[in-house]
Every structure is written in structure tokens, then in C-alpha cells.
């Protein structure tokens, strides 16, 4: 196989993975399948916590080198979460959440990482960092700034815990209201994702 053929195959593979050959990559981190996501909310009668216990697949985060003109580091990578995997520890509430999130029409929640204020490898253990993410839910995309806590387990593995308050209304969703409004789910939700990252050497 000639050099040019190899070059075109490599270019094709990189473009298929959503990355272009012109983008410089400084660090590459693998999002491990053990990563999880939790959504906490409340109603006028109880609190609920709906969780995706395990991401069940791997994805990759590509960090560009830090640009001195920008305050942040550009990131390329996303999580594609199956809404049907949410578990609220209560069968009926789980079904209701999936109906509210329009799981049949929009089966995936997509969390696209846009930037970070630091490289995951650079902060000291148990430090805080921020970054922008674009969340697509029920067919609506919204960008949020997320604060992350970084826990380094060793040089190659870190846990990134991102938390952010969001509203049903941010995604043009109406929080469920039952029995003529006597039972109401509150608009506010707290989203926490725990990313288990492994550095790709």
C-alpha cells in the first residue's frame, strides 16, 4: 500500500471520528464505560434521583493545546446517552421521566464537551475546573457552563465530576403535573455526571 493511499485512509478514518487532520491535539482521554450520570429533582410530595449507572460504551475527548489568546482549551468529544437507560428506582416514575423526556421521539441525550479551563492532567488532585458543554435533550440544544471537580486516582486515570442545575423549560419540556396540578414535579433539576477518564498514551 502506497504512502498516498495510507494517508487518504488515515484522513478518512479521522474525519469519520469527527476529527480533522488540521486540528492539533495535545491530550487524548478515553471516557470509560464505568462513567455515570445522575439527575436529581423534586416534586411537592417527594424527591427523586434518576441515574444512568454505567455508560456502557467508551468515547474519546480530544484536547487542543492551550491557546494563549483564549482563556480555555478547545475540546472535541461527546457522550451519547440512551434516555431509556435512566433508572429512578421506581418503575412508574422511570416510565414517566422517559415519557417527559420524549424518549421514543428523541432516544438520545447528547452531551458535547466544548472547552475546559485546564487540561485534565495539569490541575493538582481534588481541584476545580470549569468548561462549557452543549446538552441536547428532546431535540433541543442548550449550552451550559459546568463546574468540575477533578480527582486523580493516578497519572493515567482521573474522575471528573461535573454538576450543573438545569430546568425542564430550558429544553422546552413541561414538568409533569398530575391530578389537576395537585401533584407537581418542580422545574429545577440537578445534573451530575461522573466521567471516568483514562489518558490515551
Amino acid at each position: 500500500m502506497g504512502f498516498i493511499t495510507k494517508y487518504y485512509i488515515l484522513t478518512f478514518l479521522l474525519s469519520m471520528s469527527g476529527y480533522t487532520t488540521t486540528t492539533k491535539v495535545n491530550e487524548v482521554w478515553i471516557i470509560k464505560s464505568s462513567s455515570s450520570l445522575e439527575v436529581d429533582g423534586s416534586t411537592n410530595i417527594n424527591n427523586f434521583s434518576c441515574k444512568i449507572h454505567s455508560y456502557n460504551q467508551t468515547d474519546t475527548l480530544y484536547f487542543s493545546p492551550k491557546d494563549k489568546t483564549l482563556k480555555h482549551i478547545k475540546v472535541n468529544g461527546k457522550l451519547k446517552i440512551n434516555v431509556a437507560d435512566f433508572d429512578c428506582k421506581h418503575k412508574i416514575m422511570t416510565k414517566d421521566l422517559q415519557k417527559t423526556l420524549q424518549a421514543q421521539k428523541h432516544p438520545y441525550m447528547i452531551v458535547k464537551f466544548l472547552n475546559f479551563s485546564d487540561m485534565p492532567s495539569s490541575p493538582i488532585s481534588n481541584s476545580l475546573t470549569t468548561g462549557d458543554v452543549e446538552i441536547e435533550l428532546a431535540g433541543v440544544k442548550r449550552t451550559f457552563q459546568v463546574q468540575y471537580a477533578i480527582h486523580k486516582t493516578n497519572h493515567q486515570n482521573i474522575e471528573l465530576i461535573g454538576t450543573r442545575g438545569v430546568n425542564f423549560s430550558d429544553f422546552n419540556l413541561k414538568p409533569p403535573s398530575k391530578l389537576g396540578g395537585t401533584i407537581k414535579v418542580k422545574n429545577e433539576l440537578q445534573v451530575e455526571f461522573k466521567l471516568q477518564l483514562k489518558k490515551n498514551i
Binding site: K99, T100, K178, T182, V185
Partner: protein, 140 residues
């Protein structure tokens, strides 16, 4: 006919107050019981709330017609007549409806049982109002 509409209005207002007052009280006293209502089986978007709040008047109209036709069969103190009326309605309408509801809809037995009690309570309230009004009419 006028009597049916007057009975509908009086009983509808009474059922509205007692039913929704009781529902709000029950939600505040036994919140965990109502968690099962956060279910896709129940309308979520509020689009049918007006139907929900009109229910006391629809029920009262049906019971007023029933009362108008069979009131002569109920005898004794007006409270007793009201209860008897309520229980007869439960026996001929509520129990079969709840039976088919439990058999066909994904709801718990305890939930259906509370609907039965709720329905008996509502029909007894309507029965007492009807019997009280008919007693008032006779005394005049």
C-alpha cells in the same frame, strides 16, 4: 327538570369542596402513597385539568337524574337516605367500573381501592345533599 339542575349545582359544589379539600389533605398527610400517580398513565401536561375539575358536576348531574327517578325508594332520616343512595350507586356502578379498570389498566390494587372509597364518599355527599333538599322541600 329544574329540580335536577338545582340538585346538580348544590351537590356539585359540595362534592367539589369535600373531594378536592380531601385530596389536598390526603396528599399532605400521606405523600408517599401518591408517588404512584407520577405515572405516564395519568395526564401530565395539564391539558385536561378543566375536565378533572368539572368531574363533581358531571357526577352530580348523573346522580341527580338517578335520585329524581328513585328517591321514593329511600326512607328514614335524610343522612341515612343519603348513605343508602351512595352505597347503592357504589354497588351498581363503581364496583364494576373499578373491577374493569384494575383488570385493564396498569394501576395498583391499593390505588383502585382508594378510588372506590373516594367514589363512595362522593356519592354519599351527593345523596345527603339530595335527601336534605327534598326534606326541606317537604317541610315547606
Amino acid at each position: 327538570m329544574q329540580e335536577i339542575f338545582k340538585n346538580t349545582l348544590f351537590a356539585g359544589i359540595a362534592i367539589f369542596i369535600f373531594s378536592y379539600g380531601g385530596l389536598l389533605l390526603a396528599i399532605s398527610l400521606f405523600p408517599s402513597f401518591f408517588v404512584d400517580y407520577i405515572s405516564p398513565v395519568f395526564n401530565s401536561d395539564g391539558s385536561r385539568d378543566v375536565f378533572f375539575y368539572l368531574h363533581p358536576f358531571i357526577l352530580s348531574l348523573a346522580l341527580a337524574v338517578f335520585w329524581n327517578r328513585f328517591q321514593s325508594m329511600f326512607r328514614g332520616h335524610f343522612v341515612l337516605r343519603g348513605f343508602e343512595f351512595g352505597f347503592i350507586y357504589a354497588a351498581i356502578a363503581l364496583i364494576p367500573v373499578m373491577w374493569i379498570t384494575y383488570s385493564a389498566v396498569d394501576v395498583s390494587l391499593s390505588m383502585v381501592f382508594t378510588w372506590l372509597l373516594y367514589g363512595i364518599f362522593q356519592s354519599c355527599v351527593a345523596g345527603i345533599i339530595f335527601a336534605w333538599r327534598s326534606q326541606l322541600k317537604l317541610s315547606h
